[in-house]
Symmetry: C2
């Protein structure tokens, strides 16, 4: 058929399909070549570079009224957007806990966007792919067949949803209709837990204060005895403990709480045991790391992000709940426009929208499926173990360098250290060094505070990062440290 | 440089980059050609087809341990995934309120996945693009410069977040620490409002019962007098009204509440005025539809989805809040690992994570930016108006056909109708007809219940849908109706 007939396109029609598919195709192949080159050549570019003022100013343009040829829009992307991205594709990116992404995941995301599926519900293949990944996570974690799972944006959302499921389990489904009505629910997590664990209580109406922040030990693991005491004190004071969140990879240092001890404590105390495994839970893919996660399989729920250690392109968070019925009882709700049928597109109940708050859901499962299928569990596990080996290399280097000091033990793949100073403000010096590193384009660690001291925090999450990359970062820290203290 | 040196790739290295970039590139171009063909040739395929049992069974395979060549994984995608997608790319898809997506948005999503940016925070271009879209929405809606905005998955999340902002505005920021403590807050929405408006109160701990469902009139618009009465009754009974949600495009019929009257009522009563404009708010792009949305500009917050009328590929929800400070006061929280600096990658505060619960956030702004830039506001507005014209064509056809009856007025682009029956169960008949339509692959409307009667619900959201497509759907309804009543 003619070009104009394809997809019903013809001049004057309101369809947004192009009149000339071949021109679009030419633009598209150019974009694809460029994006593949940009991944392949990532080492030739700076990790990050500041956005020049004139580039930033270009985004002040008002709402476009008329049309612009795709090639011109793409040119603007190439000039003003592509060079100034986050940088986490680069092996020198060691800030925060970001995965590097892969070309495979990028291609899968392209295919997903082409299908444009809404994975909120109904009977289509997007949900089967997601269900397969639920089964894969069950298998990996040793969860029962009755466990349910769901893709979400990230662990902030997954931790919030887990708290809601625990709340419903504690108070019964009538809480959904009647609200909290002032029940003195209390939850527990390490003081080293991620902020989203506390945020979850805020969002849910319990308040941040309902989460008791328990002290951690020298290894940055939650103090189990202190936790047990606090629960007893709260019970004695009339509070109603309902949830303990263990961290499988704390945000600052990557410490893993003693999950087996927490599981036992939760059984003893009759509490919901949730694990925030935002990046650490996928350590189950590595035979070397999985033993450190003993107890994870006993959790009532686990939050994790495939876009961290799993290297799936952003965003791909995930929640798994041991008791799928409790999960569904927290989120499912009837609606006339969501009628379930036994055949046709409206079949296939239960739907993902029965397990979470989203009805509009992109096809996050596809990029995860491509990643797991293409690389396989063993290679992904080896890559994860390798990031920990690179972190140990960095730790050893830090301990060899007299000008540097380690600020926290290295459990997995995060190293917190800093440049010493003979006189002056070590916090200010190290903050400057981190900014110097960013601006140099050599490496991008983040900073945090460990025991009141500002730390340079290198999280080796990117599958491309090697020992040579962390050595380059340390060399630059020493150079900038010397320059700043001259 | 050699292929193996690019991106540090070399045999035996744990990096997930390919050893052979040219082989990956060849696969990638084949995928791109196929996905473009699949969009261009969408009319040659059924809207939807049931997943055959043997295909469904293939997704029962356990977690892959070893590697699989990308080309083989793609072959499995081509055989077992691509043919069984939701179908909303097709012009015959009229179910629920799904946009059709565009090839432009798909390409932008590919580029975004290549950059792999996390748009939760820091100083990179992803945030500048998002900020530009915030300004564009402000401009389109007539919101002040102090308004803030944020991409989210969809309006379910945006409506929840708006409720939280309204809650913080009503109770003060101490609610975040102390929780709800049993304040008898009440919110208001039409009985025709989307279920996520009620869900928001459940998630926030207020309970679904805190949302008073107000009657609607013959045009399916909220009864303002009844709303005013209910607020007075609640106040008299000791409740604390704090929020009214108006619907700009109800889910069942597409009715638009009298937003100007609601704005006035909220001013009179001192209540937060939120608009759920999941699909309707982008009607502001059309000079013909914008007048029906009068009052939207006076809202305290608006939720909307670019993936519906905006045709942006899934998912791309959005929240705008008039008072950016109140918005930030609801979500911002300090964390050592989110230290803000004045230079380097950790600069650029405030960050998106200060305006919502997500810290992991894909680059939804890019596909929206490409869509708005490429097509421009005028063409998008014309496309939106065209979907309403197609709906009016369908309405007229329904009214001409003696075997059909219209079940609700047509305000925008949704037509609820059904096949009459001389004897027998009309609900069952119409449910069968909808499933017949799905299985035929001709068209995919959804069903809902209007005034206790099962309706065939055709939502003309896809930019590709034409009058010929809705006529084909009606012809098929008549054919299946006759067959089933023979």
């Amino acid at each position: 058929m003619s070009e104009t007939e394809r997809a019903g396109g013809h001049s004057g029609a309101p369809s947004l399909d192009p009149d000339d598919w071949e021109s679009l195709r030419a633009d598209a192949h150019r974009m694809l070549d460029d994006v593949i080159d940009s991944i392949a050549d990532v080492r030739e570019r700076p990790v990050w570079q500041p956005i020049p003022d004139d580039v930033r100013a270009r985004f002040g343009e008002t709402l476009p009224r008329g049309e612009t040829p795709l090639g011109e829009v793409y040119q603007e992307f190439s000039n003003s957007i592509a060079p100034y991205a986050t940088g986490n594709v680069h092996p020198g990116f060691m800030g925060w806990v970001h995965g590097g992404g892969t070309a495979v995941g990028m291609l899968a995301e392209m295919l997903a966007a082409g299908l444009n599926a809404n994975c909120g519900g109904r009977d289509h293949i997007g949900l089967e792919v997601e269900r397969q990944i639920v089964r894969w996570v069950r298998e990996l974690f040793g969860f029962p067949k009755t466990a349910s799972g769901l893709f979400v944006t990230g662990s902030s959302m997954a931790n919030f949803m887990a708290l809601l499921v625990a709340r419903t389990a504690a108070l019964g489904p009538q809480v959904r209709e009647g609200g909290l009505s002032g029940e003195p629910l209390t939850a527990y997590a390490s003081a080293a837990a991620h902020g989203c664990v506390v945020q979850a209580a805020d969002l849910a109406g319990l308040g941040r204060g309902a989460v008791r922040r328990i002290a951690f030990d020298a290894a940055h693991r939650i103090d189990i005895a202190a936790l047990r005491r606090r629960i007893a004190e709260d019970r004695a004071a009339g509070f109603r403990p309902f949830l303990v969140t263990g961290s499988a990879g704390t945000v600052d240092t990557g410490a893993i709480d003693d999950l087996a001890a927490l599981a036992q404590l939760c059984r003893d105390e009759g509490l919901w045991f949730h694990v925030d495994g935002a990046y650490g839970a996928l350590g189950m893919l590595s035979p070397q790391i999985a033993p450190m996660l003993a107890g994870l399989s006993e959790a009532d729920s686990v939050a994790l992000d495939f876009h961290k250690w799993g290297q799936v392109n952003y965003d791909a968070g995930f929640l798994i709940v041991r008791d799928g019925e409790q999960h569904r009882a927290t989120f499912a709700a009837p609606a006339a426009y969501l009628r379930r049928e036994t055949r046709g597109l409206a079949a296939g109940s239960p739907w993902p929208c029965d397990y979470g708050p989203d009805l509009s859901r992109g096809f996050r499962a596809l990029k995860t499926w491509f990643t797991l299928k293409t690389y396989g569990a063993e290679r992904l596990g080896a890559m994860i173990a390798h990031t920990c080996a690179v972190a140990r290399h960095l730790e050893a280097r830090v301990q060899r360098e007299p000008k540097l000091e380690r600020l926290a033990p290295v459990a997995l793949n995060i190293v917190c250290f800093r440049h010493r100073t003979s006189s002056g403000d070590a916090d200010a010096l190290n903050a400057e060094i981190v900014a110097d590193l960013h601006e140099s384009g050599i490496a991008a660690p983040s900073s945090t505070t460990i025991g009141g001291q500002l730390a340079i925090r290198a999280a080796i999450v990117n599958h491309r990062s090697t020992c040579a990359d962390v050595d380059r970062m340390v060399d630059a820290v020493l150079t900038f440290g010397a320059q700043r203290q001259r």
